[in-house]
Symmetry: C2
Subunit: 358 residues, 2 copies
């Protein structure tokens, strides 16, 4: 029997609620496919700050590194918003990405037929959208040095960060993107700002050079401002998008909102060889935490990505994806995706519905 060690990081806000459900679903799907899990729960984000005073404790790092995959709920909340930078929950997440070297962040944005009305876009624009943003996650302006706030010769404060990409960083994320596009509809759009930024000029040059190795993938380039427009104008034109850390942050959130159901969207962050990090796109939603209102489906689908991309357990992953669609087909909806004529349920009831059908 196959056995995997999974690190669970419930985090803050609605994180613990959705993680406890996803854990059960994972266990159930695994057991039906002859796969066993042992889970270890560790603190991160605000929860870790409250417990031990740092947003990413050493023990959490080593547990995560020693496991086969990491499932994260959500981090952050008003309570820690005024903390200094190194004591912010978000800093824990950035440190975790760096520690696990998960440079490739896959963020699907799909408009399910059952939920097309949830989008603020017109039906004919939204329906059929099925795109994947491949975001570089451990480089660029998020981590570039030098950075800081200093006082200049005039006694004036100056804040600065460095956007920086080395060729190998571009190449490895581009490869993930080409492979991803190849498994999808074979179209890759690389997004940059090569008409202004030197880092983007190198980005475009490297991505273009690699295209020769993927003749079956159709590569195009788009400026980031245009991409932000095109996602609104005609999101169906996109299959796979590859871009840097900060542009990926912005565009993947925009794309997820276009689906109208960010409570549904999972993500996977992958490294070259170590454990991957899987988490819902949505935040910690402190305003509804502990009220049994959260949509657990994004985390459940993140568990499916964990099985598929993290462990190669495609069958168990497929089971989960199918029951999620099944629950929607039966009309079950949490508040965020509720519409007239469907059945409003809480976080737990949605979880039980999925669990019993896996």
């Amino acid at each position: 029997k196959k056995r995997y060690n999974i690190t669970l990081l419930p985090g803050d806000g609605i994180g613990p609620e959705v993680i406890s459900i996803a854990k059960n679903v994972l266990q159930q799907a695994g057991s039906l496919e002859g796969v066993e899990f042992s889970f270890r729960e560790m603190p991160v984000g605000g929860a870790a700050l409250d417990l031990v005073g740092v947003p990413l404790p050493e023990d959490t790092i080593s547990a995560a590194k020693d496991s086969d995959a990491v499932l994260l709920g959500a981090i952050g909340g008003y309570k820690w918003d005024k903390n200094e930078k190194h004591l912010k929950p978000e800093t824990g997440l950035l440190q975790l990405r760096a520690a696990l070297k998960v440079f490739a962040n896959l963020r699907p944005a799909t408009v399910l037929p059952q939920l097309v009305d949830a989008s603020t876009l017109k039906k004919e624009v939204a329906e059929g959208v099925d795109l994947m943003v491949v975001r570089e996650l451990t480089g660029g302006i998020y981590f570039g040095e030098p950075r800081g706030i200093k006082t200049n010769e005039n006694g004036e404060e100056v804040g600065f960060n460095t956007e920086v990409y080395a060729a190998h960083e571009i190449d490895r994320i581009a490869r993930v993107a080409f492979e991803t596009a190849r498994k999808r509809r074979g179209k890759l759009c690389s997004v940059d700002k090569a008409n202004v930024l030197d880092a983007s000029i190198l980005w475009r040059r490297r991505v273009t050079a690699l295209a020769a190795e993927y003749p079956d993938v159709e590569l195009s380039h788009m400026y980031v401002d245009n991409a932000a427009m095109q996602l609104v104008r005609d999101p169906k034109q996109f299959d796979t998008i590859v871009t840097n850390n900060i542009f990926g942050d912005i565009l993947s959130d925009e794309a997820s909102m276009i689906t109208g159901s960010i409570g549904m969207l999972p993500s996977a962050s992958l490294s070259d060889s170590g454990p991957g990090l899987f988490e819902p796109i949505h935040g910690s939603a402190p305003d509804i935490a502990g009220q049994d209102k959260a949509n657990p489906l994004a985390t459940i689908l993140s568990a499916a990505m964990l099985l598929k991309y993290g462990l190669g357990e495609e069958k168990a992953a497929k089971r989960i994806e199918d029951v999620v669609l099944g629950a929607l087909n039966k009309g079950f909806r949490t508040g965020d995706i509720y519409s007239n004529g469907t059945k409003l349920v809480g976080c737990k009831e949605m979880g039980e519905e999925v669990l019993k059908s896996v």
Copy 2:
């Protein structure tokens, strides 16, 4: 009689067509309000590259600096896309912004009742949108040093840029934004990435400090990824947005596409004391250049912004705004905003319609 010197920069693609119309409209509106213009046309962008080999000739810079306001058509085109960076049309535009020190870029995004169907957003989401993006235009990662592509100690290429803001740069754009919000609905949303970037931490700190001087303006802060989402989810929540150069580039384009009619949107770029730069949001549209298909209204409305923000000639500006609405009310539409039951016209006919009613 008041006399102003206006530098016209037709530029590339549809630029010359729309500028020649806007020039006539400007002249007519002025003459009715006792204002005279002398115009000087100068080359910029691809047109300048073809003529003298640089995208912003010295003569163009000095003509622009010596004038009371600058009206630009559009720059860029496939022809020059492979040029090296310093020989790209876009570089000419960046150099012009720097030369004129136009640090404050005002980009309104308004959904006109006549054009609400042009938006890809549902009618109830799009109607009534009326927001203004105040974008910092001469700082940040667009101009920050050091920048470039170098070979590192491993013989590997590395591309890098510097995001940098000094306190006074933040303060002056924030002041413009507070003043703008004050003249509008009194709400200002400052967009940054203060949970990750040091430059954003300083940005947020300075903007927050200035708020004390504008007690009548309600200030909020939003992360850029969330702003990209909120523009899709509920654009009506925004009145005035202030943000840095690169975030402003992305968000203002997203906002303009949300209106569904970027052929309608003007912009103003202002300095502390010198001449302002006024231009439509849209690009040079080389595919329809010279075919009498372009929508001249964005440039005509840019001429109105020139009168209002550049010269303080509010009455003449109002004339132009009114006739543009009048032409739409009469049903005149260029191809980009055409819908069933309206009257399809070319660039020239739309221009004549506006001109005769000013």
